[in-house]
């Protein structure tokens, strides 16, 4: 038996969420007293693959074939399942990223495996194999037992730290048979906003709501986020009014995030919004209404006008950074 972790690359590089998934998978392999194998698909330099050795896999399978240079959900799932077969892996771990969310269910069906997505902790293995995962959009957790022989786990970003576990990972080419019928989707274009941190796996997030009064006032939010290296987010009314793109909407019907720091500016904290952000480690709320429900779940709060408080924060941050 072994544990297989899929290491998702973006433009030939691995992100922090990948190292989290490898660290997490290594901890599971240790629990199971077995070894960890990683699989990478796409064009990744050998030096970047070697980098994975820091986090514990004994072997890295490298799939570098022309048809799979860019993401094809169906074919990638087939290759990962085939690798699980070759490596006799009964547990497959992925990041719960946008691509991971598309892959994990297909792999689970191929392996007749139970799938725990949005995992936030290591499995408990006291006779049953159970994984704690987010449910009800952050309002609760569900302890989910995977009762099947094979298991698939998709780990939430920022839920499990990166842990170094130096090994000398052997890099092997994995020759995958790619079926033509698995290549039904074709990527025509990739648009990346490269100047900004990506919201789902951002460690720091600056978010603003209707209290900002209009899209023209987002300059100071962008500036604060820029100084912190944070991603920007918004509440539902703001994206509904097209002040900001839907991809920035966090909350129950937007995306759920769990950054180390979430700064909410001019957001009252309706239950639907809180659902998407309540697993943030530290929450700062800036609102001129002292009765705003958000203060009840905040760690730090400032009762004040965003148009006065945010510029002061920007100045203080500039001074702090020297």
């Amino acid at each position: 038996m072994s544990v297989l972790v899929y290491v998702e690359q973006a433009e030939g590089k691995f992100k922090k969420s990948v190292f989290e998934a490898v660290s997490y998978a290594k901890a599971i392999a240790d629990q199971q007293s077995t070894n960890l194998v990683a699989i990478s698909i796409g064009d990744v330099a050998e030096s970047e693959l070697k980098e994975l050795g820091k986090y514990g896999p004994s072997k890295v399978l490298n799939v570098s074939v022309d048809q799979l240079k860019t993401f094809v959900n169906q074919a990638y799932a087939s290759v990962i399942a085939a690798a699980a077969g070759q490596e006799n892996a009964d547990i497959v771990v992925l990041s719960n990223s946008f691509s991971g969310k598309g892959l994990a269910p297909r792999i689970a069906v191929k392996l007749k495996a139970g799938l725990a997505d949005g995992a936030v902790e290591l499995p408990s293995t006291d006779g049953k194999f159970s994984v704690k995962k987010t449910a009800f959009s952050g309002k609760a957790f569900a302890i989910t037992e995977l009762t099947s022989a094979n298991k698939v786990i998709a780990l939430n970003p920022n839920a499990f730290g990166v842990k170094e576990n130096n090994t000398e990972a052997a890099i092997e080419t994995f020759s995958a048979d790619v079926k033509q019928s698995d290549l039904g989707t074709v990527i025509k274009d990739i648009v990346r906003a490269t100047d900004k941190a990506s919201l789902p796996d951002a460690e720091l997030v600056v978010s603003a709501g209707r209290g900002l009064k209009g899209p023209e006032n987002w300059g100071m939010i962008e500036e604060l986020a820029g100084l912190l290296g944070a991603a920007t987010a918004c509440s539902k009314p703001v994206s509904d009014a097209d002040w900001r793109p839907h991809s920035e909407h966090v909350g129950q019907t937007g995306i759920s995030i769990s950054p180390n720091l979430y700064i909410a500016i001019g957001i009252s904290g309706a239950i639907q919004h809180l659902a998407g952000v309540s697993s943030s480690k530290v929450i700062v709320v800036i609102n001129k209404d002292p009765e705003a429900p958000f203060f009840k779940v905040a760690d730090y709060g400032i009762v004040g006008d965003a148009f006065e408080v945010v510029p002061k924060l920007i100045e203080a941050l500039k001074a702090h950074k020297g």
């Binding site: 994990a104 269910p105 689970a108 069906v109 007749k112 997505d117 009762t147 274009d189 720091l204 009762v303």
Partner: protein
């Protein structure tokens, strides 16, 4: 064009989530149920794509008879007919198998779901249906356009988007941006009562997951309020006390 839209019956977004029976069951007392908001987006786009005699929209739900009002709501929004697979939805694997079983001989061109249900947040059903049917699946799309047998979608990725094309049958899970949710009008509500709602029996499939317990997030300590005229001290606190910057 025939489109199948998969809908979940979920607690209203304002529901305070609690559990009973030693935290092993969701407390349904007083809970209002709705069509999962993302599924409404998928349904609304399906209706737009088939309007004016260009096709039909069938909604499918896996659940017991108590779900019928939610299914009627989907019919009121504008689906042509509905089917309910008469079984408690055990998990996504079970639900996806039922949907795939229903769809396999019925020649749907497109199968749509919401990006996730707001109760179990899986985003599993779309890709699992795709796998059971051995057709492409695209998860978390923000735009869906159809031109004959070809579809162009925009898929969300970290910090951007991918434009993806697919030819022939496919499954996709829809997020905000695909369509504005449609509100049922009076005519829709009236006609929903008489639209066909078929009930079919489930097929059996092995159990792969089981929720054994629920937990609610640990309450936070009380908020530390910083006077507005000492705003700058927040930076120091975040740096040296919270250690997050």
């Amino acid at each position: 064009m025939k489109i199948l839209v998969c809908i979940s019956n979920v607690p209203d977004t304002t529901t305070k989530i609690t559990f009973t029976n030693d935290n092993t069951e969701f407390n349904t007392a007083g809970v209002q149920y709705i069509v999962n908001p993302y599924d409404e987006i998928a349904l609304s786009r399906a209706i737009e794509l088939t309007e004016g005699g260009k096709g039909t929209v069938t909604v499918i739900n896996v659940g017991e008879a108590a779900n019928d009002p939610t299914i009627r709501k989907a019919l009121a929004i504008g689906a042509d007919d509905a089917v309910r697979v008469n079984a408690a939805p055990r998990d996504a694997y079970f639900v996806a198998k039922q949907i795939a079983e229903y769809a396999k001989d019925r020649d749907f061109n497109i199968i749509l779901t919401g990006r996730e249900s707001i109760d179990y947040n899986g985003n599993q059903v779309a890709a699992m249906v795709g796998e059971f049917l051995d057709i492409p699946s695209i998860s978390i799309i923000k735009k869906l356009d159809i031109d004959g047998d070809n579809a162009t979608v925009e898929r969300e990725i970290e910090g951007g988007k991918e434009v993806v094309t697919v030819t022939g049958k496919f499954v996709a899970s829809c997020a905000e941006g695909v369509a504005e949710p449609k509100i049922p009008n009076m005519r829709g509500i009236m006609s929903a009562r008489t639209k066909p709602l078929a009930v079919v029996d489930p097929v059996s499939i092995e159990e792969v997951t089981k929720v054994t317990k629920y937990e609610t997030p640990a309450p936070r300590g009380t908020v530390k309020l910083i006077p507005a005229d000492q705003t700058e001290s927040l930076i120091g606190l975040l740096h040296s006390e919270a250690k997050v910057i």
